[in-house]
Each structure stands twice: as structure tokens, then as C-alpha cells.
Symmetry: C2
Subunit: 421 residues, 2 copies
């Protein structure tokens, strides 16, 4: 009950702050971002101390090394947070922009104005930098936000929260536009994802376990993706040099990201050559190849070889493992992708114009690519300037989500006294 | 269990058909629409007979006159259905359009392609024309659709469904792109709104009771509005001639529509004159005025006068009744609207430039208007060409929803062999 009323108060305050944020002008919002960046740089020592406290507790609790690594706030990471805020300040303000103003036969002019969503709830794991990135994006897009970070980062997040509030206040914006949930009680998340009177959208950032739990329990719409089972299809009309570079990059440039390729499809007409070339590259990285029968026959001498089972087509490895399948043609590739893809990012490698167009049109994923690495599916690479997350859903924002994904459109009608006949 | 498997089969068929619809070219989709229009005109007699059957049953069941009226399919209504399809055919095809293709520093080109949502479930009451309108919009936007109309119209809907299927087949499109649920069992609705593996979005069309029930039970996102509590605010800088015309039109042009004004706000500086002028107009239509204290003092001689209670600010009358409140200024008007409005449509009447801009920016509704009747909030009036419904929500489509609201965007990346560095 205490948590319930605590969260309701936070929700109410956020709702109130969101009305003031929606009206705030661009210069004021940018000033707040710059003040926060300034405060972060000033208080590096304070942040390091708070982070040290979090790390000590985490070590005592036996946290995994990879999580400790994410939790660590180096001087460089702190500077990156400050720079990130300056970048967000330099982006153009989407709010208030009116587009498509058209004169109608009745005499009225009808257009659409971009407006904030309202209150954004962000739930993330032990990465303190998300606190600042998310706060920055929400401030710029005129939203209020409620941040619930991993309990492991609570000390650091509280310091960051105070710096954000300082910046907001100095700029004349409501401090409660950004609130960090200050309890590590898990029940707080349960409240956050069900108090639909105060929260308009939830953005979860974290592993599949977190997202699945939130999907089951949230009554508020989410901007999210569950996983990234991304495909590269090497077409029979592929330039094999490009194909090898892209298929290597898409798998090996980073294993742990959601836009990493997890399944490689190869047209049977080029399978022998393409797989032989690729095997040499993957060999250096000791990538395990889990192959269907035809690919297995071609790669039988490859040392890190395994047979693929049905489960492999549905697995996001996030590791040096790749599922490989030989397909008869483009149709089979598209069918495979539309069945097994997590609708994140899929690419075709081809020089054939019609194949490229068909792939773009018929693959039902949030990003479809021709002759480019799936690793490009990213807000910065797409030119959004920043990224709050990636959505695999079809409603509202889809693909990498930047400032615009935190906004909505309303119709504006400019009349001169018109009435409906 | 039988209903469950019946609905699952329909869902599966819709999902399969949606993949073919997504690929269909514009000419083919338009041909299907024209064939359906042709079949409707050919089978007017058949439709009248089926409608007669529905009406007889409805009369035996003692259906209200207003519902009988909606259920009735006149020759004119049948012709309007056919014309509606021709209009949809004449709209430009949103699907496949690529916008914002921009070259990025990495060398890739990034744009967005408009794509269908997939499978749309439409739930409506006893209005047979919705069957054809909704089918037409879904066909044009490359979606498959499952239609569940009111059980009172089942005979008529079955004939319409067969005509739609005939048109689809003749054009070479999958007949199962449009399926009418052929059972009147209410459990079918329960299935439709929870089979998220087959249905991407639900569009409910009907009264508040229907929508509320669906909101409680649906696990699939909806494009919907619950009610229309629309406001007109007569500012102290209003041209009173325009104000009177608009406030009269917004209330009296039609009582039963969601974009009808339900509350009139008047600035205290012009209240005496504006309300006196308006009372003469409302008097002719015997509109009951439910007034706050200040308005009551001004209108004390008006014959259809009542005192407003808190509940009146939250009521959608759909009748010749109007809540009236005198406010001190623009701020108070905006505060009242943002508190009580159903976020459908709200208008200001003013000649003051700054007041107009502030109202447009600060009123948080799906349509905001200056010097125009709220009755203009409509897909046809806005130039969308057609309307599947109106959404008061902020995610995805907002305001009147046309073809574009039945679509999504995906990112397309055109590369030349680029890899991520």
C-alpha cells in the first residue's frame, strides 16, 4: 500500500509536470539540457563515489562480471553522458511543428501539429547512463518521465537524478518532469506499468526476461522489442565480395547487440562459393556454424560445425554462433524470414533490381536492407540523432525510435467562421 | 470450444490472406473494389430481401425504432455503398510509398516505406453499410479484415460478404481477405479481441457500452474513441457573429454525432452579449441549457434552463442539451477543457492571434480548432477521403482515421555493400 501511494504521487506529479513541459519553448528545454551536462561534468567525483558504492554492494552480492562492467561509470562514460545531452540539445525540436496544412473545399485549413505523448515510464537494468540519455530525450520532446533503473545502480541514479533536477530548476522547468523511483522494491515496477491514468507509454530497456514479464503484466502500451533474430540472405545474384563482407560484419562486429545477424540464408546457386569464402572468415573468430543438411555438406571440414535443429531458426544467440540454411530461391528466403524473423532487421545481398524491390516490399520487418549490414539498424546510423529504443511492433513507432517516437500528432483546424452545412 | 476453433480458423485464413494482400498492386485492388460495387448494384433485390428478413426478426424482438432505422437498407443506402467503394478506388494507394530517403555519412540511404498493418478486426453494431465501407478501406490499404457486425444484420451481412468475396475472386485476390463472422454467438467477439497471434488491431464502431466492454477485455491494440465531449470556447476577443453561428452549428446541426459540442465556455467579458444572442437561436430548437451560476444569472429568463452539476461537465448528451459555463479567461477555459474534454475536438472562437496559437498548442485533444465548428472533425471534411473511425488516443493514429491509419511504416536501407565500422 505504501508503494502504491508512493507511485501514485510520483504519477500525479509527472502528469502535472507534463502539462508544463508540453508548453515549454525550445530554448528553455535546451538550456535545461546544457545545465545538466554542466552539472554532470562538475560532479564527476561525486558520481564516481556513488558508483563505487553501487559497485561494492554489487560485488558483495556476487554480480556477474558482465553486469559489473555495465554498472561501472568510467570518467569517459560520464563525459559521454554530458556530450549526449549536448547532442540532444542540438537536435531540432519536433514539438509544435505543423505539417500538411491544406485548404479544404469548406474553407477550413487542416494540418497536423506534433505534440508530446505526456508521461513516459522507462524501465531499465543496471546501466546508469540510460538515466541521463532517457531524461534528455524526454525533456527535449516535451514529455515528463518516470525512470526506474536497476536497483544495483540506485546510488548513482540518485546523484544523477539530483543533477537533472538541478538543471531543470535552473532553466525554469518543473523539477518533477524527471523523477527517478527511489525505492528498489520490485512492486514499484508493477505499479508503474499499470497506472494508466498517469503514464501514457512504457519504454522497457533490458533483456528478454524483463520485457517478457512486462508484456504479460503491463496495461499501458509499450515501445519495445523482445529480441533480434536478424537474417542476411545471400541471393543467387549477389556480389559475393559484398556478401562476405556484410555477412561477416553482421555477425562478428558485435555479438551482444539486437541487430546482429543470427541466421544466414544462402541461395543454393551460390552456396558452395559463398559458404566456402565465409568459412575462412568465421574460422578466425571461431564462430560456430549450425547448418541445415545442404550447408553441412558444403562445410563438412569446418571445425566449429553443428547440425541445426528447428530451435536454431528461432534462437537469438548473442554469441559467436550462427544458424546457416541453404534455400532454393528468393521466395523460400522471404518465407523463412517472415516465419522466423523477430521482425527486427533483415537484409538481402543482391545485384538484381527486381529481387531487391521484392525483398524490400515483402519482408515484414521493422528494417529491411539491401546490400548493407544489419548492424546499421540504429537510431544514430539512421540519422535520428539519438535513440530511446527499438520497436518491432507495427503500431506507433517502428524500428529505431528517436525523439519523434516520443511524440504524437493532433489535427489543427484554422477556420474563418466556417460551419458545417 | 467450437467457437474457439471456428474463430482460430478465420484468424489463420486472414493471416495467410494478409500476406497476399500486402503484395497486391494498386490496379488489382482497385479492380476488386469496382467489381464489388458492380455486384452490389446488380443484387439490390437480393440485398433488400435479406434486409427485410433482418428487419422482420428485429421487429419481432421489439428493437427500438432508432436501431430499426439504422438497420434499414434503402435503395439510396445501397447506392451509397457502391459509390463509396468507387471513391475508395479513386484514392491514391498509400502502400509501398517510400518517403524521406536520405543519404547517411556511412553511405547507406535510409527511408521509410508504408506497409499494411496486417489483419484488422472490426466490431460494429447493426449497420450493414459498415460491412462494405470497412471492407473497402481494408482492401485498399492491403490488409485482411475480419468483420463482426451486429447480429441483427446477419442476413444482410452474409449477402454483402458473398458479394465482396465475388469481387475479390474476380480480381484475383484471396477471398479470405474479407471474412464476415457468420455466427451471432457473442463468444465470437471475445475470441476476436484476444487472438493476438492472428489480429493486429481492433477497430470498434458502436456505442459507449460496446467500446467500454472491449476496452476491458481486448488484449489487442484498438483504434477507438469512447465518447465525444467537445467544447467551444467563446474568447473575450471573439467575433460574436462568428461565435453565434459556430456555437449554434456545433450543437444543433446534428445531436447524435461524436463531434457535436456538449459544453459551451464563454469568457466573462462577452458572456452577457454572447449568451443573449445564442439563447435566441437555441430557443428555436428548444435546446436545454444547463448553466453554471454566472450563466444562469444571464439566462434566467430562458425557458429551457437548468443548473449544471459537476456531472454535466462530463456528460455526452447526444441530445438538445448543452452545458454552459462562464470562465474568467483563456487559461481557465484551457484548464476546464483539458480536465473534462474527452480529447476529441475542441474549438476556440477568437480574433486574437496569441490566444489562437495558445489554444492550438495547449489544448490536448485530437482535433483543436480556431473559428470553425467542431462538426468538421471528420475524415471526409479533413480530406482523408474516407474514415474507418476516430481515435482519441495518442499512440498510432489520432483524430479521424482514414487509409493511412490502417498502415505502418518500416525502415528501408539501400546500401552498396556498406559495413558498420
Amino acid at each position: 500500500m505504501e508503494i502504491k501511494s508512493y507511485m501514485a504521487r510520483i504519477g500525479q506529479q509527472a502528469r502535472e509536470a507534463s502539462a508544463r513541459m508540453a508548453k515549454a519553448d525550445t530554448a528553455t528545454k535546451n538550456r535545461a539540457l546544457m545545465f545538466i551536462a554542466e552539472a554532470i561534468r562538475r560532479d564527476v567525483a561525486l558520481l564516481r563515489t556513488a558508483n563505487r558504492k553501487d559497485l561494492d554492494i554489487a560485488q558483495d552480492n556476487g554480480l556477474e562480471p558482465s553486469l559489473l562492467d555495465r554498472l561501472t561509470l568510467s570518467d569517459k562514460a560520464i563525459e559521454t553522458m554530458a556530450t549526449g545531452l549536448e547532442q540532444i540539445a542540438s537536435l531540432s525540436d519536433p514539438i509544435g511543428e505543423i505539417t500538411n496544412l491544406r485548404l479544404r473545399p469548406s474553407g477550413i485549413q487542416v494540418g497536423q501539429m506534433r505534440v508530446p505523448l505526456g508521461v513516459i515510464g522507462i524501465i531499465y537494468e543496471a546501466r546508469p547512463n540510460v538515466t541521463v540519455d532517457a531524461a534528455g530525450l524526454c525533456i527535449k520532446s516535451g514529455n515528463a518521465t518516470i525512470l526506474r533503473g536497476g536497483s544495483e545502480a540506485i546510488n548513482c541514479n540518485q546523484v544523477l537524478a539530483s543533477l537533472v533536477k538541478e538543471g531543470l530548476k535552473k532553466a525554469g522547468l518543473p523539477e518533477q518532469a524527471v523523477q527517478v523511483v527511489e525505492t528498489t522494491d520490485r512492486a514499484a515496477v508493477g505499479e508503474l506499468i499499470t497506472m494508466s491514468e498517469y503514464v501514457d507509454v512504457i519504454v522497457p530497456r533490458g533483456g528478454k526476461g524483463l520485457i517478457e514479464r512486462l508484456m504479460r503484466e503491463s496495461t499501458i502500451p509499450m515501445i519495445k522489442h523482445l529480441d533480434g533474430i536478424c537474417h542476411v540472405y545471400i541471393d543467387d545474384c549477389a556480389d559475393l565480395e559484398k556478401a562476405v563482407e556484410i555477412a561477416f560484419n553482421a555477425k562478428c562486429q558485435r555479438y551482444g547487440t539486437c541487430n546482429t545477424m543470427e541466421t544466414l540464408l544462402v541461395s543454393k546457386n551460390v552456396a558452395l562459393e559463398a559458404l566456402s569464402l565465409l568459412a575462412r572468415r568465421y574460422h578466425d573468430e571461431e564462430v560456430e556454424l549450425r547448418c541445415d543438411e545442404k550447408a553441412y555438406q558444403i562445410l563438412f571440414e569446418y571445425p566449429y560445425l553443428a547440425r541445426a535443429t528447428e530451435a536454431d531458426w528461432e534462437t537469438e544467440y548473442l554469441a559467436p554462433i550462427l544458424a546457416v540454411r541453404v534455400v532454393n530461391n528468393l521466395d523460400e528466403a522471404i518465407t523463412h524470414i517472415n516465419r522466423y524473423s523477430s521482425k527486427h532487421t533483415d537484409a538481402i545481398i543482391t545485384e538484381n533490381y527486381s529481387h531487391a524491390l521484392r525483398f524490400l516490399r515483402e519482408v515484414d520487418s521493422s528494417s529491411v536492407m539491401v546490400n548493407a549490414s544489419t548492424r546499421f539498424a540504429d537510431g544514430f546510423e539512421y540519422g535520428l540523432g539519438a535513440e530511446i529504443g527499438i520497436s518491432n511492433d507495427k503500431l506507433h513507432a517502428r524500428g529505431p525510435v528517436g525523439l519523434e517516437g516520443l511524440t504524437s500528432l493532433k489535427y489543427v483546424v484554422l477556420g474563418h467562421g466556417e460551419i458545417r452545412k
